[in-house]
Amino acid sequence: MLRYLTGLLLLLLAGCTAGVNPLPDPREMSFAPLDFSFPEVARESLDNGMELYLLPDDELPLIDITVMIGGGSIDVSEEKTGLGGVYAATWRSGGAGERTPDQVDSELDLRAMNLGINTDNYTSSLHLSLRKEDLPFALTLLRDLLLTPGFDADRMEIVRKQAIEAVRRRDDNPGSTAGRVLRAALYPNHPLGRVSSAETLNAIEREDLLAFHRRHVHPDNLLLGISGDFSPVDLGDQLESLFGAWSKGRSERQEIPPLTPSQAPAVHVADRELTQTTIFLGDRGIEKGNPDQYPLRVMNYILGGGSFNSRLMREIRSNRGLAYSVYSQVQIGRRLPGMILLGGETKSGSTLEVVGLMRQEMEKLRADPVPEQELALAKESLINSFVFAFDQRHEVVSRAMRLDFFDYPPNYLEQFRENIASVTAADVQQVAKVYLRPEMQTVVLVGQEQDFDAPPATLGLPVTEVSRE
């Protein structure tokens, strides 16, 4: 009440005292502590090893289901690169059980139900979004998709042709070219760095899709998560009757092909008729077991992960007007080291200047400890925004599944904020010295070379021209 009166009084004053700002100063406000607890995801399992993650919530009459399967692009051989994507798309569109592909499409559309399947490096995921009244139908369809998928041959051909068309179009956008070139340089001869071609896509046979499915889709190699308006008791019974008789598979652990050394650092130039250059600087970083991830997260916020609060944004965009988008990313790999990269776009005539500024910001982080205030901002932002990791119900469920699947420690989330809070300026400098090594980074420039402000060779690295495919 007192606050209310004070507010009114100040407003009245403002009416007659020009120049006095009646608003409280946001830099000096204090707040009641935020009360929050982790939403509890219930974990259960069927006798055949199928793990269930349940988070009921009846605010809206909707349900989301995700199935996560231990099989991804990492399991695909070089000569069939692209199989992961063809598998997922054909599984999605190829019919299920007694239903033809057209029947599946039409039954889904009639119920406004969304079905999506995709394959990433280590896993494949199936997602269903539905109205609560369609749960029995959705579960039956899910059983058919998992146990008796159609992989219709005609639909597979359509998927293959679409994938080949995507190969033809992958240089249409400069960002797509730059990303591909960087991955290929950092992960040579490895599934993480490979891209499909018409040849590898044409080498995929329907039997390969069936074999991939047989190998990976078992009740003890998948997790099923569900959130929304359902009754957990009824669901348990339904799942038991639909999936209880599904027998376990051979429990073979996913084999992760070891990385080969990255290509020697170089500048890769894709010469294109463009007014703006897309820039990537990248190196391999860490995987999730590495304790450096916390100082690296803080370092990344300060370097280029913290949007307007980051140094790349401040120096390159805000102070100099040289870019709209400029950022850094520390991708913490699930099984193998992910990339640490800096990226952005600038007009052709400031290309090398921006690369130089990116390098300068890395050098500063290596040379000097970050000021206390900047460190505090990065840590507070990461800690105080943590609550947003829980504001989408289904994301809470799928995160719980991911953390379990990739063997994160059981208290990972609980300790996340403490782990960030304990990062010091010395820690940040230490990881910057280890992981930000400009002379070891691969540089990719997609743009009009003749208009660059300096020759790429001035970066002190060998220059490679990226040919058009």
Binding site: M29, Q162, N173, Q276, G321, S381, I383, V387
Partner: protein
């Protein structure tokens, strides 16, 4: 492509990268959940309490966009949106009183340069000297600037999604915060509305030129879209790119930008939505305290231009170093006209899901295209366009795809759609409405969008009911009236021979 109804799909120009589409949301329950309060100065507050997570999303939407610009000020709504991230008399500065004279000097030199640089007989030496002088002043100015202080304050208080975007129709400022920070949000935003200082103007103009290169000049889909819209309209300002053409941006002045701010950024043109873990009473109190003292301002006047009837088909080629794409646009009415609802059904029947007509015909049966989508563009306040876009699959050509689309439109105009198609479309719209309500920020966006563009957020709440009343005959009639030869604009992206 996504299956939602798409309005003003390409919101060119956020302050920071983000892409999304505006979709109407609604449900039987929506009307009960939204509470509204209008301040005496005209500012409209909409609140939805949801206590599932200790967070809230805040949208401030000003009902002014690029459609309200003149030929001299193309791009100013978006430039101003960027400038409003630069602080106020209190935030973003070490000492505004000391900074102010320097800002005035910078503005004077900047204006001199802008005036001189377009003169054919401009003395290059004088220009160089002025530019040197500007650079020196800008360097001096740095001593007063506290960089990106809004962003720092929101960041350390746990804010996420701090951003803004400009569309043809409106400009929105958004943030999501932990729920104990409502008063912080109000203090920052009310200060921004009243006391904004447009510092670092000339640098920001360059940022926007980079944004333009990134979103339009180097992206085939962006270029094609911009060209389609610029050609589909002859007179109406919907034809102009939100971000402006490159020379527009380069010639926008600080004075024009300030003028746009003074003229339109006022409570009478403002809608605020707060969605999440807030209480209505507290929200009203906080918003009254912070925004209640601002004078109402004047309403944005309606655009008087009426697009003339097209004299025939228009066709334009876009040469680009990329594989072909095709877009076809037809003029149509906008909300709240009944035919606009009819077009939401047509949208679903043509491309909503894999059993839709165009997906089946082009992608599955004839296999001419890898994808096909339909959407409304480029805005919603004035009569707009129904657009069909497709990606041909080699060796099939854009022409073949165009012919196949025409054939499907012809069929839609001859035979009424089936009951099953109608059920599918209505179910889809109804369910997608529910889906859009799941995220606080999505709901806040929809509420301010429809309050601003339709004049009342209840458009959303009543949407599905209107949809259910539309007949198959109405669809056929609309197709015959609007999706016809002689009224279309076709833009084709063709591969430039290198």
């Amino acid at each position: 492509m996504n299956d939602l109804k798409k309005l003003a799909c390409r919101l060119a120009g956020g302050i920071f990268l983000v892409v999304f589409c505006c979709s109407p949301v609604g449900a039987a329950t929506l009307a009960e959940k939204v509470r509204e309060h209008t301040l005496e100065n005209g500012l409209k507050l909409l609140v939805v309490e949801r206590h599932g997570s200790p967070t809230f999303s805040a949208y401030i939407t000003i009902g002014v966009g690029s459609v309200d610009e003149t030929a001299e000020t193309r791009g100013v709504a978006h430039l101003l949106e960027h400038m409003l991230f630069k602080g106020t008399k209190r935030l973003g500065t070490k000492d505004y009183a000391a900074e102010k004279p320097l800002l005035e000097k910078i503005a004077a030199v900047g204006a001199q340069i802008d005036e001189l640089k377009v003169m054919p007989d401009a003395d290059p030496e004088k220009l160089a000297m002025l530019r040197q002088r500007l650079a020196e002043l800008q360097e001096q100015h740095k001593q007063y600037v506290v960089k990106d202080e809004f962003s720092r304050i929101y960041g350390e208080n746990g804010g996420v999604g701090y951003n803004a975007f400009t569309s043809k129709d409106l400009t929105s400022y958004l943030i999501s915060l932990p729920s104990n920070k409502l008063e912080l949000w109000a203090a920052v935003e009310a200060d921004r509305m009243q006391n904004a200082v447009l510092r670092e103007f000339y640098t920001e103009r360059e940022v926007i030129r980079e944004e333009r290169r990134r979103s339009y000049d180097t992206r085939p889909a962006g270029k094609l879209y911009e060209t389609l819209i610029a050609n589909a309209f002859t007179a109406h300002p919907y034809r102009n790119p939100i971000i402006g053409w490159d020379s527009d941006i380069d010639n926008l002045t600080l004075e024009e930008t300030r003028d746009f701010l003074r003229r339109y950024y006022a409570p009478i043109n403002t809608v605020i939505a707060l969605v999440g873990d807030v209480s209505f009473d507290q929200a009203v109190r906080v918003v009254e305290n912070s925004f209640g003292g601002i004078s109402p301002g004047t309403k944005v006047p309606p655009v008087a231009v009426i697009e003339p009837e097209p004299a025939g088909n228009k066709r334009v080629d876009v040469e680009f170093d990329a594989e072909p794409q095709v877009s076809i646009a037809f003029h149509k009415p906008t909300l709240p006209e009944r035919d606009d609802y009819v077009f939401d059904l047509i949208d679903q029947i043509l491309t909503g899901g894999r059993s839709s007509r165009l997906y089946r015909a082009l992608v599955l049966e004839q296999q001419l295209a890898t994808s096909v989508s339909t959407y409304g563009a480029p805005g919603g306040r004035y009569p707009n366009l129904f657009v069909i876009s497709a990606v041909p699959r080699y060796p099939h050509t854009a022409k073949e795809v165009e012919v196949a689309i025409e054939a499907e439109l012809g069929k839609l105009g001859r035979e009424p759609v089936t009951d099953e198609e109608m059920t599918r479309a209505v179910n889809r719209l109804r369910t997608d409405h529910l889906r859009q309500m799941r995220a606080n920020s999505g709901l806040a966006r929809s509420l301010t969008y429809f309050q601003t563009v339709a004049g009342d957020w209840r458009y959303l709440a009543e949407y599905v009911q209107v949809m259910e009343s539309i007949s198959a005959d109405e669809i056929r009639d609309a197709v015959r009236r609007y999706l016809v030869d002689g009224k279309r604009t076709v833009a084709v992206l063709t591969k430039k021979e290198m």
